[in-house]
């Protein structure tokens, strides 16, 4: 009689201890993250802050596929850039407030991802990467040729930042950041929600062992396509915001280098860490910006070297390495 309650209390205490050991830290991290996001335009030049936020969401979208489904897409520029153009066209021709235009752009990206995803998830590994690259290149040439609509190499210029006629947000990048940030946070929350849902667990199961997931009765291909479409939607949200922020969409957005850059950001931040993308984006965008005025001519050499160092020395990316160190420290104490 006496032993049972003790066991229960001790279990409860242990559980409590466990929860208290994990959850406060998580809240602290969330608070720090939010604080960083809110103070970013004070720390860096506001248009750059918006770039960092957009690229961070883009990297998180890619990580959903790369880290949690095990698919390396090398054609995500199609969704980022496709949405950038559609968002721009909607903003120019319809004149709706920019979040609506971005929503249309993101929906377009998801729609685009259905056939592309359906055709490419049949292959895996390097073949998957090549097939997605091929589709993205198709879209690139399409945008290059369809000059009357896209402006060809001149780009789609003069995209307005309509926001219910609030002039501060429409003209000042500092205030625009705070109008755009909720969209990014919403996208990040969606990504977090997806991977912590039962659906997300299935994705991880597919990543780790597709044969077993299939044996358990999951339609692996369908899950992959769904993950692909969700990832494209988030990438499209980021791309749309990026084009609104800059006031134009150019072929650069659809170029394969954009697909490469987001993979680089994700790898730098840490594959399968979700939040690593924010660190990677901040690092790459700031580095690019700094190099632009550094007077150093070999910009590619610097970014390449950083990439090589991270891949060799911090195989799990920055976020992943920190997390591992923390786990090791904790297991020692």
């Amino acid at each position: 009689m006496t032993s049972a309650p003790t066991t229960i209390t001790s279990v409860a205490a242990a559980a409590n201890h466990l929860a208290s050991r994990r959850s406060p830290l998580r809240w602290v991290l969330l608070a720090v993250g939010l604080l960083a996001a809110l103070s970013l335009p004070w720390l860096v030049y506001p248009p750059l802050a918006m770039d960092i936020a957009a690229w961070a969401l883009f990297a998180i979208a890619l990580d959903l596929l790369l880290g949690f489904t095990g698919l390396l897409s090398f054609g995500h520029a199609a969704f980022w850039g496709g949405s950038a153009y559609v968002t721009g066209l909607v903003a120019i021709n319809v004149g709706v407030p920019f979040p609506v235009a971005i929503l249309v752009g993101a929906l377009f990206a998801m729609l685009l991802a259905v056939p592309i995803g359906f055709l490419s998830v049949r292959s895996s590994g390097i073949y998957f990467a090549m097939v997605t690259l091929a589709f993205a290149q198709m879209l690139y040439f399409f945008a290059n040729q369809w000059r009357d609509v896209t402006g060809g190499e001149n780009g789609l210029q003069g995209i307005p930042r309509n926001f219910f006629g609030i002039e501060l947000i429409e003209t000042d990048p500092f205030y625009f950041y705070y109008a755009g940030l909720p969209i990014v946070l919403l996208g990040m929350w969606a990504a977090w929600r997806i991977i912590h849902s039962p659906f997300g667990k299935v994705l991880v199961a597919i990543r780790d062992n597709p044969a077993r997931a299939s044996a358990l009765g999951y339609d692996v291909q369908r899950y992959k396509v769904m993950a692909f479409v969700m990832s494209a939607g988030l990438a499209g949200t980021a791309g749309g915001l990026f084009s609104i922020s800059h006031g134009f969409a150019s072929l650069q957005e659809l170029n394969w280098t954009t697909s490469g850059k987001v993979v680089l950001i994700t790898v730098l931040g840490g594959i399968g860490t979700l939040w690593g993308g924010t660190i990677g984006a901040a690092l790459v965008v700031m580095l690019e910006d700094w190099l632009a005025t550094s007077g150093f001519e070999g910009i590619g050499i610097i970014t390449g070297t950083v990439f090589v160092i991270v891949v060799l020395a911090f195989r799990r990316g920055i976020w992943g390495t920190v997390r591992d160190l923390k786990a090791r420290f904790r297991s020692r104490t």
């Binding site: 190499e153 210029q157 003209t171 990048p173 800059h246 006031g247 072929l251 650069q252 007077g295 150093f296």
Partner: protein, 421 residues
């Protein structure tokens, strides 16, 4: 009594003198301080300093702008309105979003009064929007798109050195008039190539020639053999290549290997920089005709400037370098004339202004579309044997008068340019 009057007179006199002194000294002392926004003039050079346009403009254009600053200081000395001039620079890496952010930062944070150069048309147009929004000056030199003086033109953006119309018109018209009536045009299938082909066709047909074939190629592209064979099959007098940069170099190599020149088919090139000739070697390009915006060895004035440029950079200037120098000098001169660096005052000072300098011959800042027109030149690449010194690659065949070299005002307005709005 008398003593009192004298004192009063003296006081009045000295008071008047003091007032006069104030009246005179006041504004002169203040022009340097109050008439300049932020107390100084900041010139921003935004271009490609690490990629494909590095040689033809790049870091040496920054040097050219610095030369203009030196010359301005030497010319006006203590009378200079711009007492403090700063030159800042950034590498846009040919990425329009980097150009956009950097331009914004230059205008907004670094208090740049004018931005120069900006090659790559998507970047050039993005910066034009920034100039419009920030109400600051922008002299585009590096980009070829006529959109800058068409649908995307604005009050603060001047298009300085060249554009697709000027290149096509010069070469197309002059070569046709000199007897090259049948043309085959090979062009890269994107905006620049398509625009050039359209402008060339108009110019050639306007001069009584004909374009027998226009062949699109992928871009970028290495192998032009099939396109050259196809172009040669229709037996034209001239093959017009609209390729640029690395593609042009490959194209010219293959034109030579195919032996088309020996068959009497001439080569005309849409856009070429002297740095292209230098990198491939003059023998590869020998005999090619093209339109040049400026040539360093054209006359003594150009040569003298080119010598100075060479002392600083160790190389001969391309037309883009000279244009950057000229644009910066013209801007500073306008500041001097206006007595302020207020952007609106400078724009009204420049619009309609006619001038001659080392780059601008018969130059005019057209008020209707902000196109800066000047004499252009039809050039031919020399044979290796007649090259007398390094960089002496070009022979100027004809001067195209400023009034004919560029797109007429009506066409700019028809293309959608409205500076009034």
């Amino acid at each position: 009594m008398r003593h009192k009057t004298t004192t009063a007179a003296a006081a009045a006199l000295s008071g008047a003198l003091l007032l006069a002194a104030c009246g005179q000294a006041g504004p002169t002392a203040q022009t340097g301080e109050d008439e300049l926004t932020d107390g100084k003039v900041v010139l921003g050079v935004l271009n490609d300093q690490s990629g494909v346009y590095k040689d033809l403009s790049g870091p040496n254009s920054v040097e050219a702008v610095k030369m203009a600053v030196e010359d301005y200081k030497a010319e006006y000395g203590d009378d200079a309105v711009a007492t403090e001039i700063e030159v800042i620079t950034a590498d846009h890496q040919n990425k329009p979003e980097v150009a956009n952010t950097k331009a914004q930062e230059m205008y907004d944070r670094n208090k740049a009064d004018a931005i120069f150069d900006v090659p790559a048309s998507s970047a050039a147009l993005a910066v034009a929007t920034q100039a419009k929004e920030n109400k600051k000056l922008y002299f585009n030199i590096g980009a070829a798109t006529t959109e800058l003086t068409g649908a995307q033109c604005n009050k603060y953006t001047f298009h300085y050195a060249y554009d697709t119309y000027m290149l096509a018109n010069g070469t197309g018209k002059t070569v046709t008039e000199q007897g090259g009536t049948n043309w085959s045009i090979i062009y890269p299938d994107y905006a620049f190539g398509q625009d050039m082909t359209k402008s060339f066709t108009t110019a050639i047909e306007g001069s009584g020639g004909a374009v027998v074939e226009a062949i699109p190629t992928p871009f970028p592209n290495d192998n032009f053999a099939t396109f050259l064979t196809k172009a040669a099959a229709s037996n034209p007098d001239v093959i017009g290549s609209m390729q640029a940069g690395g593609d042009l170099i490959n194209f010219v190599k293959q034109y030579n290997e195919a032996g088309l020149r020996d068959q009497g088919i001439e080569l005309a090139v849409g856009l070429m920089f002297i740095t292209d000739i230098n990198s491939l070697g003059v023998d590869q390009f020998a005999g090619t005709t093209f339109t040049e915006a400026w040539y360093w060895n054209y006359d003594d004035e150009n040569r003298e400037w080119a010598d100075r440029f060479m002392e600083i950079t160790g190389t001969r200037p391309s037309f883009a370098h000279a244009a950057n120098y000229s644009a910066a000098k013209q801007y500073l001169d306008a500041v001097q004339r206006a007595g302020t660096d207020d952007a609106d005052a400078i724009v009204s000072e420049l619009q309609g202004y006619k001038v001659n300098d080392v780059f601008l011959r018969n130059g005019e800042f057209r008020a209707e579309d902000n196109r800066v027109v000047h004499d252009a030149y039809l050039a031919k690449v020399k044979d290796e044997a007649s090259v007398s010194e390094d960089w002496d690659y070009e022979e100027i065949l004809a001067t195209i008068d400023a009034s004919e070299a560029f797109r007429p005002v009506e066409d700019s307005i028809a293309a959608g340019c409205n500076l009034g709005s």
